[in-house]
């Protein structure tokens, strides 16, 4: 159960996405839409079962950012068993995030 959004680094991201479905939020502390999306994701996490929601700081994890071609923030990527399922850029509404998780 997600329950909350966990902050992780690039190394942990590699281990995590090899497993079950994960929603990754690439964010920056300086970005307003990122702050609002983090707030919405915390709310989403309370209602999500079986999908982990994690946050990766864009500015502190350059290797992961380059590896996954993240060029703006916020960017949400859903991974399942190591493969990218879908990605969206920018602030998203709660129902859209629920849809992404359920793809």
């Amino acid at each position: 159960m997600a329950v909350t959004v966990r902050e992780i680094n690039g190394e942990e991201l590699e281990r995590l996405i090899a497993g079950n479905k994960v929603l990754v939020d690439f964010y920056s502390k300086t970005c307003g839409p990122c702050k609002m999306l983090s707030y919405v994701l915390k709310d989403v996490a309370k209602d999500v079962d079986g999908v982990e929601i994690v946050a990766v700081d864009f500015d502190k994890n350059k290797e992961a950012v380059d590896k996954y071609g993240v060029d703006s923030y916020p960017t949400l990527i859903v991974f399942n068993k190591g493969k990218e399922v879908i990605r969206v850029k920018g602030l998203q509404q709660r129902p859209k995030i629920m849809q992404l998780i359920n793809i």
Partner: protein, 308 residues
């Protein structure tokens, strides 16, 4: 179908303040938002003129306002309102998602969005090579060349920010720089910034991949091509009011006409915030003021309905 005393469309500062005042007036309120609480302030890094807050990040202020609405039990719904039917005894809000909301009174607080130039090529690159959020999309242009369109406060401030990471920033503006003089001086002093004043944008260039802009001097009619990797547009705002055009409450520029009580000419429909016409000042604090007045007017309207 949900039935409420007041339906508020838009959860920016105006809508959220209206929700707070309406809830405190003991009205059954639904606050409907298409994206997330906050509206335009979410994109504002620092707000320095909202009384009592000193300097506060726009998104953080939006979260505080939203939590205030939730403490008062305001029902919050995600939906995009595409029309209002006023034919029955209550107003019916029609939403893109196939949802409907019914309410005795409606407060429209949909705000504004960034304007576009509507020139050839623009729609092909909107959201990819053309951006309206420097802080979100600036990082992709590290050590690259960027064009900033506009000469007002947003263009100049974001131009300064983008110049801190880009190899070169080219400002193209239809007039001269009209931003705050201190910010203009700061921008002009930057070694990696070029400024073209009195230039009109004719076309966004590139097939599949953006390569630059064609612009024309309004003084000499000389045309030029400016090559770049991306564009940031700051050419002003436009009201979000398409859903209300059929109600005949929208002026020629798309703003909603409302009197000093924030009442439109349709009984029971009110407007607040940046979407309202003829506003002398569009700020967070004036949007909140509008929201408070609109909610009070809606409450008075409800009192009259209950007397009938």
């Amino acid at each position: 179908m949900s039935n409420h005393d007041v339906a508020i469309i838009g959860a920016g500062p105006a809508g959220m303040t209206a929700a707070i005042y309406a809830a405190r007036a003991n009205l059954n309120v639904v606050l409907i938002e298409k994206l997330a609480p906050g509206g335009q302030i979410v994109n504002t890094y620092e707000i320095q003129n909202y009384t009592g807050m000193g300097t506060i990040n726009g998104a953080e202020l939006a979260i505080k306002m939203f939590e205030h609405t939730q403490e008062l039990g305001v029902q919050f719904e995600y939906a995009t309102v595409i029309g209002i039917s006023t034919t029955g005894p209550v107003k019916k809000l029609i939403c893109e998602e196939g949802l409907f909301y019914e309410a005795k009174a409606v407060i429209i607080a949909t705000g504004t969005e960034p304007g576009m130039l509507n020139v050839p090529g623009e729609s092909s690159f909107a959201g990819t090579s053309i951006s309206w959020c420097a802080i979100c999309d600036g990082p992709r242009y590290r050590n690259k060349k960027i064009i900033v369109i506009g000469g007002g406060n947003s263009a100049v401030e974001e131009g300064i920010y983008l110049a801190s990471m880009a190899e070169e920033v080219v400002i193209v503006t239809l007039f001269n720089l009209t931003a705050d003089p201190i910010a203009c001086r700061k921008l002009r002093a930057l070694s990696n910034v070029k400024i073209y004043e009195y230039y009109e944008i004719l076309e966004f260039l590139g097939e599949g991949k953006f390569i630059g802009l064609k612009a024309k001097s309004t003084q000499t009619s000389e045309e030029m091509i400016i090559k770049a990797d991306g564009v940031f547009e700051y050419i002003g705002i436009k009201p979000i009011s398409k859903a209300f055009i059929d109600l005949d409450i929208v002026d020629d520029h798309g703003y909603i006409e409302a009197d000093t009580t924030m009442s439109t000419k349709i009984p029971g429909i009110f407007a607040a915030g940046d979407v309202v016409a003829r506003k002398f000042l569009r700020q967070v604090i004036t949007a909140c003021s509008d929201g408070a007045i609109a909610a009070r007017s809606a409450a008075k309207y409800m009192e009259k309905l209950n007397e009938i």
